[in-house]
């Protein structure tokens, strides 16, 4: 493994211009320069990856994902630049680059390295939210991701003697990173706590890389089907009741990740390609949704002119056939049917429809009621447009990426999807939706309070430390006190023998003589 890693390191990973650009952007004191550096980095990265002979490194689907990452980054950059969010820009660029590198990495070690970088960058993005909650969530995010990284590292280390445990460690690590329950809480809290800009970047990279890694390492792991489905269902329920759009979106993200994991669990070639396609699509539409939601949030909930069309497009991108979100889900569904798990197909379709309804349609209906927000800036518009176009492109040409994609354009999935979407629209566009009463932080209990736990753990260790310290202090005091006591006694004794009148000196002399005499006689 050391050897493989060494080899990995010998080549510059794809995406390095982005990492560099990110670092520069973070440190350059001028905001404009930071942004432009970011764009330059994006272009350079793309050029290096696809036009300078770097392409063969990536399979088509991975390449598409990489491009999607770049697009997301570009969109995020535009959006972020509009809001002068430098740390988010820098960290986002780094994360993008790392995500590309992770995709290109052929070794577990390489994967581990780049996921760590993504994790660190993402944690920074979360914390850049600036609120107390963001910082706590960010710290929890960091520690959990690092925990996952450590598990991965342990897995790799154990892997050197080829035991089964090694695999378990790696799987566990990747599941944490993919926000599988019961450790999905970090994602909910982190994304929600991040700034709007931050959440744009966050939604794209970390989990997708984990999913891709799972797809590569654990295809056909049956347990994952169940896990994935449970995740999808469990996470979609809160979307029905959550009123905070971005928080709602985070639940939707988890839900969609569940779908992907289920696909990985199935493990057929069709399913895996579906997972990849869904990942690509999800990157696009989730980001788009976050852009829209972010833009709205930035204006305090007052809708600016020109945002509503984007919201509509975003909603459609989630599931409308021909747009980004549909393709992957459909292919996975077909694969499920092929594997005789038709009921599971129903589940994912329903979940998808619910997401479409709750994340896309309902906000469209309800959130744009208060106009008067500041006009949508050119950059925000450009960001959204870029993503919309990306979704369109993927939906249109996505089929070319994989031979399995054709399955999505069979009648069955189209019909099923159509019915589902229609039903969703029906519910959401009519007052029926009012039956689902919404409030912020609804069903929060489902979003396991991870940050509190993590912070609690940290504080707990701190308390242990304080206790240890106290014990050490007490021990040192005791030893010191004892030492002083012995010292004083020794000094006293020595002084008694050493200091005094000459008469005593002679007495000592005589005593010594007596002792010596008696000893020598004896």
């Amino acid at each position: 493994m050391t050897e493989a890693l060494a080899l990995d390191l010998a080549l510059l990973p794809p995406g390095w211009p982005l990492v560099l650009a990110g670092l520069l952007a973070g440190l350059l004191p001028i905001p404009i320069a930071a942004r432009n550096v970011g764009f330059l980095g994006l272009l350079a990265s793309l050029w290096l990856m696809f036009m300078a002979g770097g392409a063969p490194v990536l399979e088509p689907l991975d390449a598409a994902l990489a491009i999607a990452f770049h697009l997301v980054a570009g969109a995020g950059l535009m959006f972020a630049a509009a809001h002068e969010d430098r740390i988010a820009i820098a960290a986002g660029l780094v994360a993008t680059g790392a995500a590309c590198a992770a995709l290109a990495s052929r070794s577990l070690a390489g994967l581990m390295i780049w996921t760590e970088v993504i994790a660190i960058a993402s944690a920074l993005i979360v914390m850049a939210g600036g609120t107390q909650a963001a910082i706590r969530a960010g710290l929890a995010y960091l520690l959990l991701q690092v925990l996952a990284g450590v598990l991965l590292l342990v897995g790799i280390a154990l892997g050197s003697d080829g035991t089964v445990t090694a695999g378990a460690f790696v799987l566990l690590a990747l599941l944490i990173k993919a926000a599988a329950p019961p450790v999905h809480g970090w994602l909910i809290h982190a994304y929600a706590a991040a700034s709007p800009t931050g959440s744009i970047f966050l939604s794209a990279f970390a989990t997708k890389v984990a999913v891709i890694a799972l797809a590569r390492l654990f295809p056909g792991e049956p347990a994952l089907i169940w896990l994935g489905l449970a995740m999808a269902v469990l996470a979609v329920i809160p979307t029905l009741f959550e009123s905070d759009w971005r928080r709602l979106l985070t639940w939707a993200v988890v839900s969609q990740l569940g779908v992907m994991i289920a696909g990985i669990g199935l493990g057929t070639a069709e399913a895996l390609d579906g997972v990849r396609l869904l990942a690509i699509g999800h990157v696009v539409y989730a980001t788009l949704l976050f852009v829209v939601a972010g833009a709205l949030e930035m204006r305090g909930g007052k809708a600016p002119a020109g945002l509503r069309p984007f919201a509509l497009l975003a909603a459609l991108t989630i599931g409308l056939p021909g747009l980004a979100g549909y393709l992957g889900k459909a292919v996975i569904g077909e694969a499920l049917i092929d594997a005789g798990l038709g009921w599971a197909d129903i589940v994912i379709v329903v979940v998808g429809a619910v997401v479409f309804a709750t994340a896309g349609l309902r906000p469209l209906v309800e959130k744009f009621g208060t106009p008067g927000g500041e006009r949508l800036s050119l950059r925000e518009g450009a960001a959204a447009l870029l993503l919309v176009l990306a979704g369109l492109a993927l939906g249109s040409f996505g089929g070319a990426l994989s031979p399995q994609a054709e399955a999505a354009f069979h009648a069955t999935p189209l019909i099923v999807q159509g019915i589902a979407l229609a039903a969703a629209a029906l519910v959401m566009l009519t007052p029926v939706r009012r039956l689902l009463r919404q409030r912020p932080g609804a069903l929060g209990a489902l979003a396991v309070p991870m940050p509190s736990w993590v912070i609690g753990a940290v504080q707990g260790f701190g308390r242990v430390g304080a206790a240890l310290d106290a014990i050490g202090g007490a021990a040192a005091g005791l030893i010191g006190g004892g030492g002083r006591l012995v010292g004083h006694a020794a000094v006293g004794l020595a002084r008694y023998v050493s200091i005094g009148g000459v008469g005593d000196g002679v007495l000592w002399t005589l005593t010594v003589l007596t002792i010596v005499l008696i000893v020598s006689f004896g």
């Binding site: 008469g503 005593d504 007495l507 005589l510 005593t511 003589l513 007596t514 005499l517 008696i518 006689f521």
Partner: protein, 325 residues
């Protein structure tokens, strides 16, 4: 008879020592210690050591006592008696130690045993050969001046060192000359004393050279003669006043002569060295016993000079010191 005398004298010594221990008047103590010394002299005579008895009489009983008295004048006569914690322990330890030593003596050769190793190994050489080698009858003088002449030189230096020390401590910048009139009670007003002293001092002046030069034949020698002459000068000082003694033999003169005494002794050695022989090898001076006798005479002279002057000097330093702080 001798045995009984010995036992009696030794017992007297013990009694005196105990008495000294329990007296708190230092003047009395000093006098007792003088008596103690004299008793010792008697024992030494009894033990066939007239030379030692002679010296002890001059030095131990005489000079020491006078010096102590002179010192007591300066330090106070009464001892402050305080119950000392150490005394009980001291008594205990002394007793135990004494008993241990008594045990240790049990295997010693008996007193007066002619077959004791000490009497068989080196001493016979002195007794048997010194007549031929030295040509003088007093073996003690032979041993002192020739066989162990180097020890004696060391001894002379010790005496000189004492003088040097007392000069450093009480002389030079540390001297506290007597004010006019506060000299110690002058005894020269006492007619009897003065008369006796007038008689004694010249007599001792004659006695000293006799002891000096007759040392080869009878008990005596440089030490004794020096002590006698020194004692005479001290007596002179005691009776006629320290000022007159100081004028008679100024400190500087005494110091020079004392130094010269040491140098005479050492010089003899150096001369023998220069003559190509070992240090203090009197054979270098002349062949046979003559050389030895020349050497002995020279070194005895040196001893005499040093001892006389040092004894006087010591007394001078104590006696001519102002007592009040």
């Amino acid at each position: 008879m001798e045995t009984l005398l010995m036992i009696g004298l030794l017992a007297a010594l013990g009694a005196l020592a105990v008495a000294i221990a329990f007296m708190d008047d230092l003047l009395v103590v000093t006098m007792l210690s003088g008596i103690f010394s004299f008793t010792c002299c008697a024992i030494f005579v009894l033990f066939d050591a007239p030379d030692v008895a002679f010296t002890e009489a001059c030095v131990g009983a005489g000079v020491s006592t006078v010096l102590t008295l002179a010192a007591i004048r300066l330090t106070g006569r009464r001892e402050k008696r305080v119950g000392r914690r150490a005394s009980a322990v001291g008594l205990l330890v002394s007793t135990v130690c004494g008993l241990a030593l008594v045990y240790g003596t049990l295997e010693l050769p008996r007193f007066g045993d002619p077959a004791a190793p000490a009497n068989l190994h080196v001493a016979p050489h002195y007794l048997n050969e010194s007549a031929a080698e030295m040509g003088i009858p007093n073996v003690i003088t032979s041993v002192l001046g020739a066989y162990r002449g180097y020890d004696t030189m060391g001894e002379t230096v010790v005496v000189f060192t004492a003088a040097l020390g007392v000069l450093l401590l009480l002389g030079g910048s540390q001297s506290r000359p007597l004010h006019r009139g506060d000299a110690p009670a002058r005894a020269d007003r006492d007619v009897i004393l003065r008369s006796v002293a007038t008689l004694f001092v010249p007599m001792t002046l004659f006695l000293a050279p006799y002891v000096q030069f007759h040392g080869a034949y009878s008990p005596g020698g440089g030490f004794q003669a020096g002590a006698i002459l020194g004692g005479a000068l001290i007596l002179y000082g005691l009776v006629f006043g320290i000022d007159r003694l100081n004028r008679l033999v100024p400190e500087r003169v005494l110091q020079v002569i004392a130094a010269l005494g040491v140098l005479t002794y050492g010089g003899t050695g150096l001369v023998t060295l220069a003559l190509g022989r070992n240090f203090l090898d009197y054979d270098a001076l002349s062949a046979g016993p003559t050389g030895q006798q020349i050497g002995l005479t020279a070194i005895e002279l040196g001893v005499f000079m040093t001892v006389t002057c040092v004894m006087t000097l010591l007394f001078q330093r104590f006696a001519s010191r102002r007592s009040e702080p």
